[in-house]
Amino acid sequence: MDLSVTIGSLHLKNPVIAASGCFGYGVEYAGVVDLSSLGGIVVKGLFLEEREGHPAPRIVETPAGMLNAIGLQGIGVRRFVDEKLPELRARNATVIVNVCGTTIDEYVEVSRILSDADGVAAIELNISCPNIKEGGIQFGCSLSGTFDVVSSVRKATRLPIFPKLTPNVTDVASFARAAEEGGADAVSLVNTFLAMVIDIETRRPKISNIVGGLSGPAIRPIAVRMVYECRQVVKIPILGMGGIVDARDALEFMIAGASAVQVGTANFVDPFIWPKLLDGMRDYLQRHSLARISDLIGTVDVESKHKEWISS
């Protein structure tokens, strides 16, 4: 059974990727999972410089989901290249770096540094973090901003680039198209949904940043719809995510149109999830007599008439 998938020029041994911000820099998880067994690892969002992020509390749980406002705490791209990348390379991880910026120049500069480094497989452009005021989501919420960031980074690197789209827009497919036109090799979606939880006893927001991003199973049906919509509109591959907790969820995203999937929140609940996801996918292929997982991508059947009734 062939679990491999192709994202532009990038060949992944399987379609299961750790989502940015949910897997540290990867090295934190070397003790619980063989990093080379994953299709890829998207490391935590990196700016040019170090950032300490928001004060705690940074997360709060919600029904079947969680809100986070970490504020992109990170060690900066140079320390990443010096301190983390060698270990990731040694462990044969397929490393995708989530690149942040407050200006287009910063995106370009961070991407350039990563292009020069050894062991980066691709760049995920984070233009969708809902938790910081400057930059990022400003680009992600404007079609021209999206195009500008992508096309500028395109000129600066040969690495595959995957802009990561925000779901907090009216028409996500138009953003996928802007990214495609800007020269993206694929799009990642979705980032988190802007949300808020208030403690009614103190009447204060439960996280320090007031609002944060909603992730986890709660958002999955919205994310699947967005992947499906983008699939109708762009030709480049989609990396789908949002609430995946098991192989069935991952397959649902692929059937909706994702060429690969990312898993974030579920890794917190079960850091041993990775082999289970792969086993579940293999099991499905076997039951359905499919030789290649790539044959599933975008095969959702919206034509057949519904067998309306359930059976006893």
Partner: protein, 270 residues
């Protein structure tokens, strides 16, 4: 290395209307646990509640020959998961990931050295294994233990039997000294000064006060932090604590992997 075990509930002992002691069959985790380490627990299989919750390993259960057979959790019911743990029935399975985090540094019995354990409320959970380790090294050990009321002072015999001196306080005066645990601690430290190594776990304000007091008396002080934790493995950056930077300023450290035990002096208390 952390293990994930679908641990069977061996016993569930209610201690009060809010507290219970849960015994879990997680021998491999128990055997590997050092004092002050914790486990991430999930008591349900659905997505609500979704995330695991952190709990100190309270005791390591052992068979006659000393082999670890399981661990206990001292649980205080405050929300969704702690309610499930309070109501857990023997035979039920609870996902248990651990052991996690940096342990307490266990001092040796040098001349005149002694250990002061300072527990507030359910913070007691961080001390049973530490006390055993200290006693095994013949360190003179005193537990300063404060609770809201006498009925919420638990497991006193555990510590007494091991030769730990107890100094108890309650906020309502129903047992021990009336007031906060910091009062007798202050008298004690004023006398022993740097001979005392202070270990604290409890409400944030208490730990901050203890850390400051320890500094004042030039005592070594470690605290076991209890921050909201999403993953326990360094993946989510939810559990950060501001610590002094070398060149001034501060850094956010992840208390799940750079803690939960940290030096009290290092932390930028509010």
């Amino acid at each position: 290395m952390a293990l994930d075990v679908a641990a069977e509930v061996l016993a569930n002992l209610p201690l009060s209307a809010d507290f219970n002691r849960l015994s879990l069959a997680a021998p491999a985790i128990a055997a590997a646990t050092a004092p002050g380490q914790f486990v991430m627990v999930k008591a349900n299989t659905s997505h609500d509640p979704l995330l695991r919750r952190p709990f100190s390993v309270f005791e390591v259960l052992r068979s006659g020959d000393g082999t670890a057979t399981g661990l206990t959790i001292l649980n205080k019911r405050i929300g969704a998961t702690t309610r499930l743990l309070y109501d857990a029935k023997p035979g039920q399975r609870i996902a248990c990931l651990g052991p996690l985090g940096l342990p307490w540094p266990v001092i040796d019995a040098g001349t005149k050295r002694e250990a002061c354990l300072v527990a507030g409320g359910v913070g007691l959970a961080a001390f049973a294994i530490l006390a055993e380790a200290l006693v095994a090294r013949r360190v003179k050990t005193t537990l300063f233990y404060g609770a809201r009321t006498g009925a919420e002072l638990f497991s006193l015999d555990f510590f007494r039997e091991r030769g730990v001196s107890l100094v108890l306080t309650t906020e309502d005066g129903s047992a021990g000294e009336h007031g906060r645990v910091t009062a007798p601690l202050e008298r004690h430290l004023a006398e022993r000064r740097s001979a005392a190594a202070v270990y604290a776990c409890g409400p944030e304000a208490m730990m901050a006060a203890v850390a400051r007091m320890a500094m004042r008396f030039a005592c070594v002080c470690h605290v076991a932090l209890e921050r909201v934790m999403g993953c326990g493995l360094g993946g989510c950056y939810s559990c950060v604590v501001p610590v002094r930077g070398e060149a001034g300023g501060f850094h956010h450290l992840r208390s799940c992997i750079a803690g939960p035990v940290m030096s009290g002096a290092q932390i930028l208390w509010e």
